[in-house]
Symmetry: C2
Amino acid sequence: MSARQVTLAEVAKQAGVSLATASRVLNGSTRQVSEELSDRVLRTAEELGYVPNASAQALARNSSSLVGLVVHDITDPYFSCIAAGVTRVAEENGLVVVLGTTNRSPDREVELLSTLRAHRARAVVLAGSRTTDRAAQARLAAEIDAFTEQGGRVACVSQAKLGTDTVVPGNRAGGRALARELAALGHRRFAVLGGPSDLVVARDRLAGFKAGLADAGVAPPVVVNGPLTRDGGYEAALELLATRRQARATCVFAVTDVMAMGAMAALRERGVRVPEDMSIAGFDDIPTLRDTVPALSTVRLPLERMGEIAAGLVLDAGGDEARTVRVAGEVVLRASTAHN
Amino acid sequence: MSARQVTLAEVAKQAGVSLATASRVLNGSTRQVSEELSDRVLRTAEELGYVPNASAQALARNSSSLVGLVVHDITDPYFSCIAAGVTRVAEENGLVVVLGTTNRSPDREVELLSTLRAHRARAVVLAGSRTTDRAAQARLAAEIDAFTEQGGRVACVSQAKLGTDTVVPGNRAGGRALARELAALGHRRFAVLGGPSDLVVARDRLAGFKAGLADAGVAPPVVVNGPLTRDGGYEAALELLATRRQARATCVFAVTDVMAMGAMAALRERGVRVPEDMSIAGFDDIPTLRDTVPALSTVRLPLERMGEIAAGLVLDAGGDEARTVRVAGEVVLRASTAHN
DNA sequence: GCAGCGCTGGAAAGCGCTTTCCCGCCACGC
DNA sequence: GCGTGGCGGGAAAGCGCTTTCCAGCGCTGC
């Protein structure tokens, strides 16, 4: 047990070469090494089962092979899809991804970033939406600065005024397009499950949706706020059903698919038929949507692709300018929305 | 940009103490440091925004704060739930989890383990089922040995004869119990979507299911193999519908919830009503199940808990004996299974 | 024929931290 | 009064690797 690890020095000695030579052989150095020595080193390394000590390399090179990925909740399909994209790209580049989950706590986000800084992560992808809370945002910005100062790159998925590379989904445009299409179906009374009021994505989608309704000359929707989770959607839908019985909306938009799923469950329980009694639409097009009945209308975002893009941004050094990649949402009407 | 990072040496100098003292103050050393010096160090560290270099610490201490987590596919709810459990525990212990995805490739699994070894990860949780392929298993075993030799701990989630700590879900027992309950509903002709034939979990669940049917004096099921994914379930269900029209099963068991979801989609498309025309059950009780219609009967596994347990095993040093924690599956009959 | 160059190999100086070892100091106890 | 022991502080030796710098050597070019 616990046999000490094979070191480069041992390999070098065994192969009868210097430490420097062994190092040059076993890592793509710019320096040439004669084929003979090179072979010898390679062979002994193989025999001894040498694996370089990543910490030591990181220390000596002053750069590690870690990429951070910060999400709110890895069980949320939205995040797990993005995570899949990020890990794919990272692994392709021989990097290793460190997963941090915040449970939607801005403070935790800052903490994680600091940890990642301690590990000298070469880059970080911040998925999930920034809060609008000033103080929290300032702390985050400071931590991001510290991180970039140190030579790391940061990319955000979703809106961010933080001066980092960003993948921006067309939240506003998507919401707007969706609203117009729903209005075109004949709906005139809308409700929105708007998520937390201090979350940028939620606000943008809502704002877009309102704009779309306005475009169509439809009255503004009733908005119910709540957590951006499946249960949040469930509760919000119940609240919606409880109030405003008199002039109930005929169509409800949940700013997130997972909320929409919760909402559908609530409607089902209350005997409200979808789409006959109430149309419903979400946003994101998470994969699990394929298996809901009725199939949920939504605005499709290429989630996994977004993860890949973010990882791409953060990995190829790029200029000093913060780059922004926009990805458009595509309205997908399915069975959960009907003519009114 | 790229201002060099604050080092311990700078903090020490600024605070007018030795490197040793600064180190002792800023990390829980056993040695005492006078309150005065301690304060001074703490204060300057704070002022300078000192963050210890994790690589250097890992090197000096010969142990890192990394915990590996290896899954097949992070977008699969089964794995993302386990991941959530693992990350929670890891973060509670001040550790950082590195996420590796194998896409179900045994070779990739070995590669990842090797990378984790290079990083001197202190522990690894291997989620996902081991293959029955001898050669692949040998390579994995060798890599696991190398890892533990080096002082790291390894835990597996699911069956494993690899001599590591293991969290073993009651696959066989769960399958068996489920079969009996379904038989008790009056079904006599069963089909199973059995997943890949070389996967241990899949085989165990199937074996248990067969045993349960035998217990109830019911004929063995028709088995269709295929990938352990949603689309695999979809295809398998189609195949099932295509053949055996004459004496079709009245109840189908998918060894995995995600497969069951795919299968339900296939049935729906083909106009086969669930549960009127066909009952269906899965295994795992992934969270998304709450939102399928009809709600899917299944065998519930405490997925997130399993992740926590695995992380727990792997983190508290424990003896040298491989420990095994069994978690029972609980049959949950919902709307997708009806009397026959 | 020799200065100068390019090329390969090795010695050694770090990278930032931990930890051992040693030293000086201050009670103590006899 | 002096030997002991305990304790807080610092010097310095690593941890395993990268990389600079230098030495040696065989060539080319005048």
